[in-house]
Amino acid sequence: MSATVDTTVNETLFDKIGGAPAVNAAVDIFYRKVLLDYRINRFFENTDMDTQMAKQKAFLTMAFGGPNNYTGTDMRNAHAQFIKMGLDDSHFDAVMEHLGATLEELNVPPELIAEVAAIAESTRNDVLNR
C-alpha cells in the first residue's frame, strides 16, 4: 500500500476545500440560511452585520480545518448568553443542517463535508455548556 506515493497526503482539509476563497463563498450562503431560519435567527440578529459576518467566517474557517485559535473556553464564554436564551441541541442541529446544505450547494464532495461536520460537531458540548 505504501508503494504509491500520494502527493496530496500533506494537503490539509482547509486546502482541499479551497482555503480562504471557499470560506468567502460559503459565508454568504451560510449566513443567509441562518438569518432566514426562524428557529435560530434570534441568536444571530445583530445590528452590525459586518461583525456577525466576521464571526461566521471565523466559525467556518475553523470547521473547514483552517487556522484558528478557538479554545473550548472561548466557545463556552461566547455562547453563555445564548444558553440563557434557551440554546439547546435542536438549535445546534439546525446550524449543522445549514452548514451541510451550504457545502452541498458549493459542490463540496460528501467525504469532505463529513470531515467538516465532524469538526463542527466536536464543539457541541462546549457550545451547549455541558
Binding site: G19, A20, P21, V23, N24, D28, R32, L35, L36, T47, M49, M53, A54, K57, A58, T61, G66, P67, N68
Partner: protein, 328 residues
C-alpha cells in the same frame, strides 16, 4: 544576487527578507499593523498600495472596488517590486479648490460646484472631506463623474442648526477657497459584468452619489437594467426630478422612481418609503448589484433585506450618511 523589494510605510523604508509577506516585514520592524488570522480570512490587515499594484493573490476575497483601488491583505502579499503602502482610510494630501457655482436645487438642498487645479483622482460615488478655513470638517459625496473640466459637484442639505451646511448655504461665496481631502470610500461603479441589474436606493441628498454612479454606469456602457429609487417624505425633498426623467427617456435601460412616504398624493410618484418600494419590486435580487446611500437606518436595513433576498454581500455597496453628533 537577488534584489529584495523595499516597502515605504509612514515615510520609512523597509527591506523585505526572502519569503516574507508585507505583514511579516512590518511586524518585524515593529510597525503597529492590525492583524488576526494571517491567512487571508479575517481581513484585519487590509492595506493599500499607493504606487505599484499588488498581486491578485493578495486581494483574494476583497470587494472589487477595493481591489481596483490597490487595497490588499498584508498577510497574503509577497511583494515582487517596491511598494509605498498605507493603512486604510488615510486622509491623504489636502488640496485647494475654488467655489465656482452655487444653485438651490430644492428649498434646502444646494448644488455646490468646486474647481481644482492640482491632480486629483476619484470615482463617481466616492466622498471627500471639505474643510472650512477655521478647520471644521464635513464629509460630502461627489455627485459628478470625472471629466476634463476638473470640477466636483456636491449636494449640500441645510440641516437644522448644522454648522457647516448653514455656512455653505448662507456665507460661502463664489470665488472663495476651500480645502478638500483625497476621495475616499468604496461605494462606486466598476465596469465588467455590464449585464447585471443594478438597484440604487437613496434618501434625501443620498441622490448625489447615486446620480454620479448611474451616470458613470451609463457612460461606461452598462447594458443591464438600472433602477433608481429616490425617496423623501414630501415633494420638497426630491430634486433633480426633471434631469432624472430626461435621463430615463434617453436611456432605455434606466428607470427612475421618485417615492413619497408622507401624506402627499401625487401622480408620477410611488407611494411609500423608497427602500420598501424598491425591495418589493423584485422577487429576488440574486445576481444584482445594489447601491445604498443616505439615512444610516435605511442603509443598514436595506442592506440586510437585499442580502436576505439573494444579493451577495460583496455586491452591496453602501454609504451611510452620519450626521455629526457634535453639531449644534
Amino acid at each position: 544576487m537577488e534584489h529584495m523589494p523595499n516597502l515605504t510605510f509612514e515615510e520609512h523604508d523597509f527591506t523585505c527578507q526572502p519569503g516574507e509577506t508585507v505583514l511579516d516585514t512590518l511586524l518585524r520592524e515593529n510597525c503597529d499593523i492590525p492583524n488576526g488570522c494571517r491567512q487571508g480570512v479575517c481581513q484585519s490587515c487590509l492595506m493599500r498600495s499607493l504606487d505599484n499594484a499588488p498581486s491578485a493573490s493578495a486581494q483574494l476575497g476583497l470587494k472589487d472596488t477595493l481591489q481596483q483601488q490597490n487595497y490588499f491583505l498584508a498577510c497574503l502579499c509577497r511583494p515582487e517590486q517596491n511598494m509605498t503602502i498605507e493603512l486604510p482610510n488615510q486622509q491623504g494630501a489636502w488640496i485647494e479648490a475654488n467655489v465656482v457655482k452655487k444653485q438651490l436645487l430644492s428649498p434646502d438642498i444646494l448644488r455646490l460646484v468646486l474647481e481644482y487645479e492640482t491632480e486629483f483622482h476619484f470615482f463617481a460615488g466616492q466622498f471627500i472631506n471639505l474643510k472650512r478655513p477655521d478647520g471644521l470638517i464635513r464629509s460630502y459625496s461627489i455627485a459628478n463623474i470625472p471629466h476634463h473640466e476638473n470640477i466636483l459637484e456636491f449636494h449640500i442639505r441645510r440641516l437644522p442648526a448644522g454648522q457647516f451646511s448653514t455656512w455653505v448655504h448662507d456665507e460661502l461665496e463664489i470665488g472663495m477657497e476651500l480645502t478638500i481631502s483625497q476621495a475616499q470610500g468604496s461605494c462606486h461603479y466598476l465596469p465588467g459584468r455590464a449585464e447585471q441589474p443594478l438597484l440604487l436606493v437613496g434618501t434625501g441628498s443620498g441622490l448625489a452619489p447615486l446620480w454620479g454612479i448611474v451616470t458613470d454606469a451609463l457612460v461606461k456602457g452598462h447594458s443591464g437594467p438600472i433602477y433608481l429609487y429616490h425617496g423623501s417624505r414630501d415633494p420638497d425633498g426630491l430634486y433633480l426630478e426633471d434631469e432624472m426623467r430626461e435621463m430615463a427617456m434617453e436611456f432605455e435601460n434606466f428607470q427612475y422612481t421618485p417615492c413619497l412616504s408622507g401624506d402627499t398624493m401625487a401622480a408620477d410618484y410611488a407611494r411609500g418609503r423608497a427602500h420598501d418600494v424598491a425591495l418589493s419590486s423584485a422577487h429576488s435580487f440574486k445576481g444584482w448589484r445594489v447601491y445604498l446611500c443616505g439615512h444610516p437606518e435605511m442603509v443598514n436595513q436595506t442592506r440586510k433585506m437585499a442580502y436576505l433576498k439573494g444579493a451577495s454581500l460583496n455586491d452591496i455597496y453602501a454609504d451611510a450618511f452620519h450626521v455629526a453628533s457634535i453639531e449644534k
